[in-house]
Symmetry: none
Subunit: 189 residues, 4 copies
DNA sequence: CATGAATGAGCTTTCATTCAT
DNA sequence: TATGAATGAAAGCTCATTCAT
């Protein structure tokens, strides 16, 4: 019989506040007190849910990683390339819909201790590589295109995200089509 | 002819030391004293060349931006697409040759005050967009491919760089060909 | 007959828990929550019985002072020196039997605000001084021995206790005889 | 060519300030800033000489232990018991002359992590035990008196010190004679 | 120019205490 | 009574920056 809100709900409130604050001023310049204020609680209360400032960043990263988990959960229909198209589109849309989370991802780079970005990218590449291999087997791809190109596709998405975060004139949503034209249509036989 | 090294030379020694240190432990965890030690000088002396810790990061960023300044300075020869191929290749090689600088670029994201990443990306996109427009005019591109796709190409390079920095198993050099196959060969008519 | 245990009984349960915890890690490093956990109750409940953390230490000290209250309550039989022998022996045994309380006594020194150790020592010296005066009057003591030597006897006991607490190789029980030989036999005419 | 004062001198200034402050309000209630203020320097400067607050207490303890190192360094002259008399007297005088250090010793008990009091007592007992054994061999002691009684003598001194610290009415200096009468004269054959 | 001791603002973290349930 | 989530004052420690030498 918890007092009012259960641990998980309160934890997520704090995480949501942290995402906002970190996105606004960067993790390095964000104080625990800023997060607490944004969440409408006292500084010390943050520590009832997260053991340290770093854990807060890790928490945000995890929630991001979960969100960005390939929407490929959806087995999809159609050819492998169609499903690749769908996966890329879904990923871009997800990222465009959560710019704050995406912005914090960049802070994760500077995190100390380092958080496991490698694993996240590995999973993304894996999901795409699987589709590429399948498409190649079905003869849908140009000669010479295969699993190694997954990194390029993941990179194109990530790189466009970065540009959109750095430059308000660049819209990630509007880059969805160009990405697909280059990364999907461009590799088709 | 002052003491032994002139102001500029000493400044660059310090910048070189800063790149090494920042790349090793991240900007956030790097102290002025670490940089001074790496440069073999005293902490206070750093301030004779840089007004603040942030200025040091800015200096490193500027030297990176200069390096990454499109090798397009070289007007090059051949068709626009050939020159695009050359530009992408040169950029990837430059990045692969300076992993420390590249690593620090990510810290620039977390910098406070923010440094002008937008401008750097803008210039990269501009150089590539020019070639795309020229190639399109020459009828070398598939229909629908043009300036907006410059962001995708820049992104693919940047995104592959990020993956290679995050994951020692990913080699940027080895991604050069896949990038070209997708981003250059893939847009050819 | 309230709930299950009356106020006093519950207070003493908490005090017993406090002694254990304080003896284990020292007062300075002991948190109210540690004491509550040891007592099997919630943190906040401690405050229903003690107004503050300091009051907890004071409570432990008082219970110690009460215990160490000269067993001289027993008027005893035999000569004054025999009764002194008995008193010293009883005191040492009491201390040896309650090492936790004794350990906490040392924390009382570091307490802020200070607790009245002076009074406790005064009472100990008083009880012993009375016996010394009586013994002197009966001609049982060497010339020059009297009330001022009570501090030495109290000190010898206290000092041996301290050594036994500091060093597991020193056993207070085994020091009982040496103390008596020096402090009682040694002052006999 | 140090700036103005050498490390060691400055370290001792800080230690001296620490002793004063700790003696005045107890270690637990003493803040680093209090010590710095007493030493006339800034808070942060303390950390140039001591790595932590605990190290400050350890430093004070060490300087105390050094001071209290048996004045027995003096091989002395006369019988073993004469030398014991001299040693006890010198020890008491040293303690009486440095009440601040002695007061801090009690805080050392509450220290976390614990400092090695056991070793200090061991050395004191050892010095005295040596004299007792020598005196026994020379037939100067009552039957049954020997090395184990060293703990009683050390304890008597320590215990008297404690009483004098707790109670301004008790003077350690004035207890020197009673201690000698009980602990030295009392064990003589 | 070079140095590195000194400074002190500022941050993270802890925990005694309170109080709504 | 009992609870434990919430609070916020307090303190240890770090480190960018300054400046006397």
């Amino acid at each position: 019989m918890p007092k009012r809100v259960d641990r998980t709900a309160r934890q997520e409130e704090i995480l949501a506040a942290a995402v906002k604050v970190f996105a606004r001023k960067g993790f390095a310049a964000s104080r625990i007190e800023d997060v607490a204020a944004e969440a409408g609680i006292a500084k010390g209360s943050v520590y009832l849910y997260f053991p340290s400032r770093d854990a807060l960043l890790a928490g945000v990263f995890e929630s991001y990683a979960a969100k960005s988990e390939p929407a490929s959960a959806d087995p999809g229909t159609g050819s492998a390339l169609d499903r690749l198209d769908h996966l890329v589109r879904a990923t871009v849309e997800m990222l465009a819909a959560h710019p704050d989370h995406a912005r914090v991802l960049l802070d994760v780079w500077a995190s100390n201790p380092p958080l496991d970005l490698a694993d996240m990218y590995r999973r993304h590449r894996g999901a795409i590589a699987d589709l590429l291999v399948e498409a190649a087997a079905a003869g849908e791809l140009r000669t010479g295109i295969g699993a190694p190109h997954a990194a390029v596709i993941v990179g194109a998405i990530e790189g466009c995200l970065v540009q959109s975060l750095a430059d308000p004139d660049v819209s990630l949503s509007e880059l969805a089509e160009p990405i697909l034209q280059v990364c999907v249509a461009g590799i088709r036989r």
